[in-house]
Point group: C2
Chain length 282, copies 2
Amino acid sequence: MGLGVARALLAKGFAVHAHDIVPERQAAAVALGAVGCGSAMEAGRAASVVITVVVDAAQTRAVLFGERGLCGTLARGSTLMMCSTIAPRDSEALADELAGAGISMLDAPISGGPARAHAGTLTVMASGPAAAFTACESVLDAMSAKCFRVSGRAGDGSRMKVVNNMLAAANLAAGCEAMAMASKLGLDLRQVREVVNASSGGSWIFTDRMARALEGDASVHAAARVLAKDVGLFVDTARDLGLPAPMSECAREIFLDTVARGFGEEDDSAVLRRYLEIYGKK
Amino acid sequence: MGLGVARALLAKGFAVHAHDIVPERQAAAVALGAVGCGSAMEAGRAASVVITVVVDAAQTRAVLFGERGLCGTLARGSTLMMCSTIAPRDSEALADELAGAGISMLDAPISGGPARAHAGTLTVMASGPAAAFTACESVLDAMSAKCFRVSGRAGDGSRMKVVNNMLAAANLAAGCEAMAMASKLGLDLRQVREVVNASSGGSWIFTDRMARALEGDASVHAAARVLAKDVGLFVDTARDLGLPAPMSECAREIFLDTVARGFGEEDDSAVLRRYLEIYGKK
């Protein structure tokens, strides 16, 4: 996703300084016109707006506060756009810590996947102080088709994202259960996808992931372990509030089982492979 | 749904003979130009193609084989279009019994809800002998935007429908869990709907049902007990095959709980009310 965002910004004429812990991805950004940086700290030196696109809160903290992290160089008055899916309380804590260093934070998770990141047509759900929105305005314009301004408080962007991603996970788990059953019942799976798309069972993630799964596309757009983590954030939020969340819990179990079977680094459409292992073909 | 189908056929110039056990609905069809019939048997006398749109297999059997049922008059060589959501094995059994009486059956469940029935833009997923498709061709054209020809054997239309409706039920149950949590977290629910629509968590039923739930629209488009029955058909199919179906089972439990709380005759978006009873508002 980070590479796609970098590309979208470069295409709109922004000067981008990029750091990725995977050298090949950083090289790809440099090939598109970015200035390569040996560390997050180096990238922070150049920028008034910094975007972090990593997997979770621990990685976000490492990029910010770790060795050679952004906070080593990021100037007072600069703005961090935090684009990862993390627990709302972690987002609030980050915003507080950064505010102490004079850095304002936009809690700005993104949705849409690598292709839409690449095209600059992501959906952003953002919350934070008005000044942070102002500082990020042109960047948000360049990277997204739609930016929802959720509220003035950090945490709410993440709340919105956790709610959305739970639905992505649950809809995908149900979709794979449906497809495995359809396979077992001898239905044509391409037709099932078409029928569901045109009927009351349709969902964005079913259409998107089943296309790849049915074409045997093994490229990883979003690793299964990531959505396992995301739906877990919803369940954790429910647990914090002492509330039941049976659909999310069930989806989490299915994702954890998918990861435990060795599919964690594969595309999350591998949940279908997990189901087919259990169901078998007709 | 039956009234909508009648309207779509009348709008295309078909002569429609209508029977409904609810007198008000039959009167509505008559007001649109249908010939009212005192029983299914009476309707069967006039028609070469008969459409049944009832809730389940028991009702379908009653309409066909019950007192003053269709089979009392339906001529050999006529065709039944069976549009209800029923167990695939029940559909197979019906087709066999009807074949014995010289009546061919199209296993033709419909999706899209009353508004699309009314507009003649339903999705149909149909299976059956080629002659049944030919007999129903102009009727299918008039009532649907898309008719999927699933296979030549009765049962497969129902298999496709059960797979689709399980997804509708699971996506709706997950959607209501997400919305109740969003409410508890203090998010604006209209914005949640908009964000999810534009993001990876979107689904057809979430968009459709949440619009009604958020507007406080109490009209019943599809009763909660119906989707409870439909997702149960998927679970039963899994049980017949000795297979686990955790997402469907979880959705079924939530629908049964919704019905047990007294919401069975209300619109299925009442699953959200069930969740809000448990979660409370913020």
